[in-house]
């Protein structure tokens, strides 16, 4: 009979833990509260099913446990019951899937007015690149990477010359403005993950991936790498600071363009790039 008590306690304990424990997701700082809502719906549906199945199991064990003279009922199948259960399950699954797919549609549809910011990952640090005055990011490739050109910006591409280069792991974003992050890596897989933004995506060498979101409150948020990238994976951290528009403009003025960056790094270097 211990098992009946154990099954009931597991259900009650799990629900109590869920409701009372302090470990819950961090307050959101982006527009993806739809994702949180879908997650909450899923918690309620699955939680109810878990409780129902385990409690029913406990009831069966209690009621139909072996006693002398007791005999099981011979009952091979029950078509009606089986189809009925299949239908209810299908409805429950649809109730989770349909809203999920609607939100996914939004998740992959980038608004036209989203500002582009490139996130650049390598073992084991974060850098960023913003389009300069022309509003266009220049092309880039692992092939161009050198000590003076850490992000591998194509030196022959005029769109790249005014791109702003942000090293040191901290980037600013303006609040309430949709942003499309273009994700690029030059060595292994990484994953740009800010728990408060909910969105995350792998960065794959050889291609550019993306996510978009709208920061909804100001503040500093830690960036983590969420795709295993080697020994120092857990220490590949950075920072995103979301600020008001004016402060963002001030910060922008302080950043170096690729041209400035290259000339700071040494005068001989543009010649060498041309040789490449």
């Amino acid at each position: 009979m211990l098992i009946v008590v154990a099954l009931v306690l597991i259900v009650l304990g799990s629900i109590a833990f869920h409701l009372l424990s302090p470990w819950w997701w961090t307050p959101i700082a982006s527009n993806w509260d739809y994702i949180d809502n879908t997650l909450v719906i899923t918690f309620w549906i699955t939680g109810a099913v878990f409780a129902a199945v385990v409690l029913f199991t406990a009831y069966c064990v209690l009621k139909f446990r072996h006693r002398p003279g007791h005999r099981a009922v011979f009952d091979p199948e029950n078509k009606r019951l089986e189809w009925w259960l299949t239908g209810v399950t299908a409805a429950g699954v649809a109730a989770m899937l349909v809203p999920g797919l609607f939100v996914w549609k939004q998740f992959v549809t980038v608004p036209d007015d989203a500002a582009e910011v490139e996130v650049f990952g390598q073992q084991w640090s974060w850098s960023y690149r913003l389009p300069g005055a022309d509003g266009v990011l220049g092309t880039a490739d692992a092939e161009w990477v050198s000590g003076e050109n850490p992000l591998g910006i194509n030196p022959h591409d005029r769109f790249g010359k005014d791109d702003l280069i942000i090293e040191g792991g901290e980037v600013y974003l303006p609040v309430d403005r949709p942003v499309k992050l273009l994700l690029r890596s030059i060595d292994v897989l990484h994953n740009f993950y800010v728990p408060e933004f909910r969105a995350k995506m792998d960065m794959v060498p050889g291609m550019v991936t993306y996510i978009w979101f709208t920061p909804t409150r100001t503040g500093g948020f830690e960036v983590l790498c969420a795709e295993y990238c080697g020994t120092a994976h857990a220490f590949m951290r950075g920072y995103v600071t979301v600020v008001e528009a004016e402060e963002y403009q001030e910060w922008l003025q302080e950043q170096l363009t690729f041209e400035e960056y290259a000339s700071n790094a040494g005068t001989a270097q543009p010649v060498r790039l041309a040789e490449n």
Binding site: T57, L189, K200
Partner: protein
Amino acid sequence: MVDRGSDDRMQLPPREVADVMPPHAHSWIGRYVFSQDAKYIALQYSGTAVAIGLVALVLSWLMRLQLGFPGTFDFITAEAYYQFVTMHGMIMVIYLLTAIFLGGFGNYLIPLMVGARDMVFPFVNMLSYWVYLLAVLVLVASFFVPGGPTGAGWTLYPPQAVLSGTPGGAQSGIILMLVSLILFIIGFTMGGLNYAVTVLQARTRGMTMMRLPLTVWGIFTATVMALLAFPALFVACVMMLFDRLLGTSFFMPALVELGEKLSYGGGSPIAFQHLFWFFGHPEVYIVALPAFGIVSDLIAVHARKNIFGYRMMVWAIVIIGALSFIVWAHHMYVSGMHPWFGFFFATTTLIIAIPTAIKVYNWVLTLWQGDIHLTLPMLFALGFIVTFVNGGLTGLFLGNVVVDVPLSDTMFVVAHFHMVMGVAPIMVIFGAVYHWYPKITGRMLNEAMGQIHFWVTFIGAYAVFFPMHYVGLVGVPRRYFEIGEPEFLTAPVDGLNAFISSAALIVGAVQVLFLFNLYWSLRRGREAGGNPWRAASLEWQTPETPPRHGNWDALPDVYRWAYDYSVPGAPEDYIAQTDPWVSDGEDRRL
């Protein structure tokens, strides 16, 4: 009461399979080393799998020591931690679970349950084990080479798996891992062909496919799936080996490693992920389907009731097996693949929940109006239901593409897959060992030790993996050597991690008691007799216990399905498959 012939329903079809006794080995080596007896090969497979599984268990302890008590153990460096994580995962999934369900239970049970004398190709079956052993030895060797085993994570994603930023990436660790996997697949293929052909071709007279116990259905379907899925892993391993050794670029784009340009170019890391998960997702069901089958039989026997909805259960196994080949990219929602794939793979993934749910309902409905004996196999079966339902339901979070986004690559995923394909199938393995040990040895396992083993394992494993979901929900990524105290944590996870680690140490330790029980009961266990559970399926009707080489005197004739329990009017509460008893009234056979 027994009516043997007056009823034409009892007429048997003509014998299709020639009754050939496999040649008995005469030498000691032929019997106990290079044995061709499937039952002995099963024990060799299981023994090797458990031995290497114990290594994986110790690795999980070391890993949990780091997570629970960071900074306390100097010898656990980040390199070592990732090697522990990788080898733990790979060993548990491939070398323990796959090997023990198919090579272990498959070998022991298939010939006995279908009424065959042995597997159809005994020599190839023997080779299968020895190639598997070689694969395990190559795996073990990687612990002793310079640089140690690979620390690439069990998914071995390139490019990091073959680069110097990952432990064993630039040394031999990754090479030995890939060679070992290739060997494993070769070995498995030899065994797998045996299991599938034996089920299709060597069933005894009267044993139709729809009279097979669900154990056989589960192992058979899993075997067919493995034969189709492992080749994808095979080519992925060969290609990555070429990338690493010959400088090809199947999975390697142009890249810069620690400031140095490498000579790779043009390959696709995502192509590897597709190949890996085309194998990797069916692999989940290669482990789960045998567990589904076995647990169905445990529940039916110990609740003295036919499995509810047998035909639906068979079709659910087959449908799950087929669907599992078109859901693989749900492991890749945030991999950077084209986002529109998300719509397709989320839909197929959630559809697979329906046949899976039907199986759960039918297990529980088998208990309904049963005569439930709370034996150790039944307790473990109940433990399976709880952990499987829990782990299956969290799969609905991760399968539903947009819900997966915040949870992907966090500890929530780790908790989910351990619950559903770690704890739940292992519950079934334990239940199955308590159930079939009497047939294998002729003695019962000790009940008191078994009770302690069950309670500590069941409650302990739940205490490990249930709270772990919340570590992920709060935002802690998986494969983190150390999380520290970032600001996004709504509460520090240190205490919770220490609790999980402590529970994991206890659960691991109690497995020693289980192994001791296996040894102790060999001599001192209560004598079991041929059919201690009064079970109807064929393996319990052998003339000798343990069954000898060749299994039967004359091949048995089968008159009914494996689930005639508590049939009204029958003299006992079970009717063996070999029993031609007919009720006076309607025909209840399927």
